[in-house]
């Protein structure tokens, strides 16, 4: 591996991220499956880094899932997006930050399409007016939330309590980074590091003391693919893609997978359970899986947040071996207690993969 | 005194070598066995890749050699080396002496009937590339009767151990595509297919011709070698090939099948070649001294080779070699 070659690519694919004052929109999937992630993101950026993040309570889905499942036409998706932009305008912001990679892809696609076909933009402007009586302004900057963490990764590193290092051996943790396809595969110039060697998560891992695992199927999709997953009979196809990735990363014995997309951590996490049930195979040590976390969860962990406050009990793959490697104290009894000590109920114990 | 250089063969290589030798101050003598100069290229209508008229090129060559002593309908029957060079006896009874000999004897076209499974000489509508070229010149061939479906078979007699020729004949791929386009021009309604093993578009503009073949002429290239031809009840040709990219055997009915015959060594020169001590290479063509710096030189002093007598070549290759051989001969004569 010629690291200079990658560095050259990373240098070529850089983008401007404003320093402050962001309009934040949430992710449908992430707030459902990893609610701790977005909370942590806002807490870190607002309270630890002192940035201004505004959330408009009227914002909705971007329509991406319906769009990629071929259930709504592009004009509809664009009108939904135009409404989001209108909310941003009304709120007095011009730096748009979204939590979801699918959304990021849709926003980028929409802005690029409007750039190429101004008549389409005019048409959408009309649609938005007709439907909501709103007017939008295009954001000055569009960023994905991971871009913000990437931008401030060294500031986070300064406040770091538990670096990505195995406290027992003193060696850096081996971390797999998995980028959501729509982050930069459609528009390589819109992502840090481009499409082939995205730097957005690599930068975080390196800044926080981990070691990146560069395995052959690194570029491969997690297998979500919208349509593939939504139809039960097709899920084997989705699962097979994840399986291919795990087979490929297995020899590297990664300690952790870090992701920046809503679907990826979900599938990389849950399919480990399904694969274990179907084939009896697990990819971590001693019958455990490999934890697949979001970048906010990892940022929270290294900054010393309580794992259960981060919502790590929402992961199927047990997180405890990782916490022990990093030397993070945790109270096993509190794992299935929600906010205010509410009992969340325990998952039914899977037969092949260890959940505790 | 000017030096005689005996050039055997009056095709493209022979004519061009003679032209250049004359310019260098030597006296070339061309001995041609047929009744006209020009060789195979004179039978060609258009040249690849840009559809130049072969006639334009050949007539310029004729102009260049009009002052050069030429024997037509003449063969060398005997040649001996002597102190001054060579002494050649001609079939017309004359004899000439020369300082050096240039073998520019060219090629024979593969006899298509040897690939029996293609049915040349058996089925009415199987023709050779040369016959098609003649059709383009004369527009007369009773076998070509407004065909609706035309097939071209590549590598007939080339890359085939079954006929003893393992080499690639180099020009047939490009010729097939050129002829396919021309057929489309003559019969715009016809569907034209070529059956190839590899398309070897090695020269400048050839890949463009390939693109043009697909884009402008809608010629369909199928990767598979035709292996059997038969006739149906109506006398149309039924061919069998495998569409190897699709992975299925393919059958197709055609109205005309053109066999892209390969080049083979011209065997009528064998006796003279033996007398001069020139061996054949593993492909059965004449052996030159070496592949790089002795391309036009033979292992025998004073004997030079040019053009397709050493390997299949395109016209530009041949002309280049003819010019190169002229320099070789000039240096040889002057340094002696």
């Amino acid at each position: 591996m010629i690291i200079e070659g990658k560095q050259k690519i990373w240098a070529d694919y850089q983008k401007d991220i404003p320093d402050d004052h962001y309009f934040y929109v949430r992710s449908c999937i992430r707030q459902a499956f990893w609610p701790g992630s977005e909370v942590t993101f806002l807490d870190i950026t607002r309270n630890k880094l002192g940035k201004d993040f505004y959330e408009n309570p009227y914002h909705t889905t971007c329509g991406g899932i319906a769009y990629h499942s071929d259930t709504i036409p592009q004009e509809t998706a664009m009108t939904i997006i135009a409404r989001q932009f209108a909310l941003m305008k009304e709120s007095g912001y011009e730096n748009y930050v979204c939590s979801c990679i699918t959304s990021f892809g849709c926003y980028t696609e929409t802005l690029e399409t409007w750039h190429e076909y101004p008549e389409l933009e005019a048409k959408i402007r009309q649609y938005l007016w007709d439907s909501c009586k709103k007017e939008f302004a295009k954001p000055k900057y569009l960023a994905h939330a991971s871009d913000i963490i990437y931008k401030f990764r060294f500031e986070i590193a300064k406040q770091m309590k538990f670096p990505l290092v195995n406290v027992k051996t003193g060696k850096p943790l081996k971390v797999v980074e998995h980028i959501g396809c729509h982050y930069s595969k459609m528009f390589p110039s819109k992502g840090f590091g481009g499409a082939e060697y995205p730097h957005v998560l690599v930068g975080m891992i390196e800044a926080w003391g981990g070691e990146v695992v560069d395995y052959p199927e690194r570029r491969h999709c997690c297998g979500f693919g919208f349509r593939q997953y939504f139809v039960q009979g097709n899920r084997g196809y989705s699962e097979s893609n994840t399986y291919k990735k795990f087979e490929s990363m297995e020899p590297y014995e990664p300690d952790l997978i870090i992701t920046n997309c809503p679907g990826c951590p979900y599938f990389l996490d849950r399919w480990q359970y399904v694969i274990a049930e179907q084939t009896g195979k697990t990819y971590g040590k001693n019958g455990y899986g490999i934890p697949a976390l979001t970048y906010e969860e990892v940022a929270g962990l290294v900054m010393g947040y309580d794992p259960w406050d981060l919502g790590l009990q929402m992961h199927q793959v047990a997180i405890e071996p990782l916490l022990e490697k990093m030397g993070i104290p945790y109270d096993p009894k509190k794992k299935y207690q929600g906010v205010n000590g509410k009992d969340l109920g325990q998952p039914q114990c899977p037969s092949c993969i260890k959940s505790v | 005194m000017k030096e005689n250089i005996i050039i055997i063969g009056g095709g493209a290589a022979g004519m061009e070598a003679a032209t250049q030798l004359q310019k260098l101050g030597l006296t070339p003598v061309i001995i041609e066995k047929s009744n006209a100069l020009g060789g195979h290229i004179a039978q060609w209508d258009k040249l690849f890749p840009a559809f130049h008229n072969a006639k334009d090129v050949v007539s310029k060559m004729f102009d260049n050699v009009k002052d050069i002593k030429t024997y037509l309908n003449t063969e060398v029957t005997d040649i001996q080396r002597n102190a001054d060079g060579f002494h050649a006896v001609l079939s017309n009874g004359e004899a000439i002496d020369g300082k050096a000999v240039v073998l520019a004897t060219g090629f024979d076209l593969f006899k298509a009937e040897r690939k029996q499974e293609y049915g040349y000489g058996i089925y009415n509508n199987v023709i050779t590339s040369l016959e098609l070229e003649k059709f383009f010149r004369t527009r007369k061939d009773e076998r070509i009767n407004n065909p609706k479906k035309i097939g071209f078979v590549h590598c007939v007699g080339a890359r085939d151990v079954k006929v003893g020729n393992t080499y690639c004949s180099k020009v047939c791929c490009t010729t097939a595509l050129k002829q396919a386009c021309e057929m489309k021009e003559v019969f715009p309604e016809a569907e034209v297919y070529t059956f190839y093993m590899d398309l070897r578009m090695f020269g400048p503009g050839y890949e463009d011709l390939y693109l043009k073949t697909q884009k402008d002429y809608d010629v369909k290239c199928i990767r598979g070698r035709v292996c059997e031809v038969s006739e149906d009840m109506d006398g149309r040709l039924v061919i069998k090939a495998e569409d190897t990219l699709f992975g299925k055997p393919l059958r197709m009915t055609l109205d005309l099948l053109v066999l892209m015959c390969s080049m083979e060594k011209n065997k009528s020169i064998d006796k003279i070649q033996r007398q001069l001590g020139i061996e054949n290479n593993s492909d059965g063509f004449m052996q030159n001294r070496d592949m790089y710096l002795g391309m036009n030189d033979s292992k025998q002093e004073g004997v030079f080779v040019a053009g397709t007598c050493t390997a299949p070549k395109s016209l530009p290759d041949t002309i280049g070699e003819a010019r190169s051989v002229a320099v070789e001969v000039f240096n040889y004569v002057n340094n002696k």
Binding site: - | R114, Q116, E117, G119, I122, Y123, V161, K162, V163, G164, E228, V229, S230, E231
Partner: protein
């Protein structure tokens, strides 16, 4: 001379004789034991069937003693063999006759067991023990000298084999050479011993006999006793089933490694490849090197020439087949897809897309003559076209069985040692042929012809190769041909000529259309074209050498064209021939008379 009836020098001989007899008896029991039950029964019955008894006697004398086949090939070589074999036989016979006529032994009374023991060696050394009458003395000396004359030829042959018309001889190891040396010296020693009565020579003579007999089972000379058994088994009509058991074993030991097949084998054109010939195959298989035997079995072209030139009539091709079959295949053929093929009548209304063969498409009535071109002929459309023209010109009521591609005849599968797996194809073709209602089946491929003749049960249907068919059409006047000026040479395809002796019909046809010139080797001796499907191992280069040799042989009398009657020969020769190569049907079409 000496009234003693015993002398220690007889002991080596007695020892050797006892050993070889024991070995032969054990071997005989083993071979018969290994025969499959039905073969054994067939063999025993043949021993009492008058017809086979006569054949057995004829061949035991003709082959084992007089070597008639070798005489036919080369009289000198024949004399060499028969002088030794017959001479020796006569010496033994006369010796025993003498033993009875001279009794009682002079001055000694020997009875019972001692008598028979004496009988055992007495005639071998009689001159030491007794005097004989002049008649016997003359006879014994005559045959002894006869043997020695044969040995003299053998010695000369060893030095210069061409004297007996043999180019290449088998190369032997130490044991073979040693026994040969023993054989060569036995009779000179005997002669010297008899004439001089020097004790040392009696000893040498006896020891020589012992060496000869003790080493006999381990050398090619084992063929001397085995051949007698082989003749009996052969006349019982057995076929080799397993490569190293029973009948095949008898054949392995009957091979004298004489090497006549080396010169005959088309592969010997390249000296380095003469190790692939039957003589070596038999030797290698006899020695138990099955891997190498398998290699040779798979290399062989199966042209059958070695079988026909073999002085012992060893069916080496059968043994090679059994060797091929002895190596188990991982893959078993599955030709069940042939079920979808049917004739049109059966298929009408069948939407399954099954392939149909149509009969009587061209003519309203059912065809009388069915033409089966076969796979190879599909690749030589000239033959098909010529056959069509011939049949139309002759006004035949015919149709094609495989105009649009047919089912393989099954012969190649049999050639590869998988006879059972050919059955599906044979059954399908049989079904299609029977459904056609034809009474005559014409084949233009000898490969097909062989299997149709041998393996198919087509009762009531005449099976003809197209050479025979055309000959018949010409002879009955249905086809009128004119005689041209072209000089043709005819190549006998292996599976037509050697396999069925169809030598004359094609030649008669050719003589009707042009001049027939002779090849250097004709008929039985014709050389395989090199294209045979029989071989799995020959490389292109090796095949090319064979083809070139065969072409050179055909070109011996400078014909204008080569004519053959096999599509495979046609294709193979076309590559190397300096003149046009044509099928017989093509030549006939070229010479059809206008008034047909």
């Amino acid at each position: 001379m000496n009234n003693n009836i015993f002398h220690p020098f007889v002991l080596p001989f007695v020892l050797g004789m006892a050993f070889v007899l024991t070995y032969c008896v054990v071997g005989l029991i083993r071979v018969i034991w290994q025969l499959p039950k039905e073969d054994r029964k067939q063999f025993l019955i043949s021993l009492v069937t008058p017809k086979t008894i006569w054949a057995n006697i004829r061949d035991l004398f003709g082959d084992c003693l007089f070597h008639v086949k070798i005489w036919k090939r080369n009289p000198l070589l024949g004399y060499m063999h028969s002088s030794i074999a017959f001479g020796w036989f006569m010496i033994i016979v006369i010796g025993h006759v003498m033993l009875f006529t001279l009794k009682p032994l002079e001055g000694v009374e020997v009875e019972g067991f001692a008598r028979s023991f004496t009988n055992f060696y007495y005639p071998i050394f009689y001159k030491h023990f007794a005097t004989e009458t002049p008649v016997f003395a003359f006879l014994m000396d005559f045959f002894l000298l006869m043997i020695i004359s044969g040995i003299l030829i053998a010695v000369v042959k060893k030095i210069y084999s061409k004297i007996v018309g043999v180019k290449r001889v088998t190369k032997f190891g130490f044991a073979d050479n040693m026994v040969r040396f023993a054989l060569w010296t036995i009779f000179p020693f005997r002669l010297i011993a008899e004439k001089s009565n020097i004790m040392a020579f009696w000893w040498l003579y006896s020891i020589d006999l012992m060496i000869f007999m003790c080493m006999l089972p381990f050398t090619r000379y084992m063929h001397i006793p085995t051949e007698a058994l082989f003749i009996l088994l052969r006349h019982a009509g057995l076929k080799a089933r397993e490569p190293r058991k029973g009948f095949a074993l008898a054949q392995l030991y009957s091979c004298p490694s004489c090497g006549l097949c080396i010169d005959a084998c088309p592969m010997s054109v390249n000296d380095q490849k003469s190790g692939n010939t039957s003589a070596y195959f038999m030797k290698i298989l006899r020695n138990g090197d099955t891997a190498e035997a398998q290699r040779i079995a798979e290399t062989c072209l199966m042209c059958g020439k070695c079988v026909l030139v073999c002085p012992v009539s060893i069916e080496s091709c059968d043994i090679k087949f059994s060797q091929r079959a002895a190596v188990p295949y991982e893959i078993h053929s599955d030709h069940s897809y042939l079920d979808v093929i049917s004739t049109e009548a059966e298929r009408s209304g069948d939407p399954s897309g099954a392939r149909a063969f149509t009969f009587g498409e061209k003519i309203s009535t059912k065809p009388k003559t069915l033409y089966f071109a076969g796979c190879m002929t599909q690749l030589t459309p000239k033959i098909m076209r010529s056959m069509k023209q011939i049949m139309e010109t002759a006004g035949e009521n015919y149709d094609f069985l495989d105009k649009d591609g047919g089912v393989c005849c099954g012969r190649p599968m049999i050639l590869s040692g998988k006879p059972a797996e050919a059955q599906a194809m044979i059954a399908k073709n049989t079904e299609l042929i029977k459904q056609s209602g034809a009474t005559k089946l014409v084949l233009s491929c000898p490969i097909c012809y062989k299997v149709f003749k041998e393996e198919y049960h087509l009762e009531g249907i005449e099976i003809l190769h197209h050479t025979q068919y055309i000959d018949e059409l010409v002879k009955t006047g249905k086809l009128k041909v004119g005689k041209g000026e072209v000089n043709y040479v005819y190549h006998d395809p292996c599976e037509l000529g050697r396999a069925f002796g169809v030598y004359d019909e094609p030649r008669e046809v050719i003589e009707n259309v042009g001049n027939l010139v002779k090849a250097k080797s004709e008929k039985v001796e014709s050389i395989c074209c090199g294209g045979s499907l029989g071989s799995f191992r020959l490389t292109q280069q090796e095949r090319d050498e064979i083809t070139q040799n065969s072409v050179d042989d055909l070109m011996f009398n400078k014909p204008d064209e080569i004519v053959t009657a096999c599509p495979l020969c046609l294709k193979t020769f076309s590559k190397k021939s300096p003149v046009a190569v044509k099928d017989i049907a093509e030549v006939v079409v070229e010479n059809l008379q206008a008034n047909n």
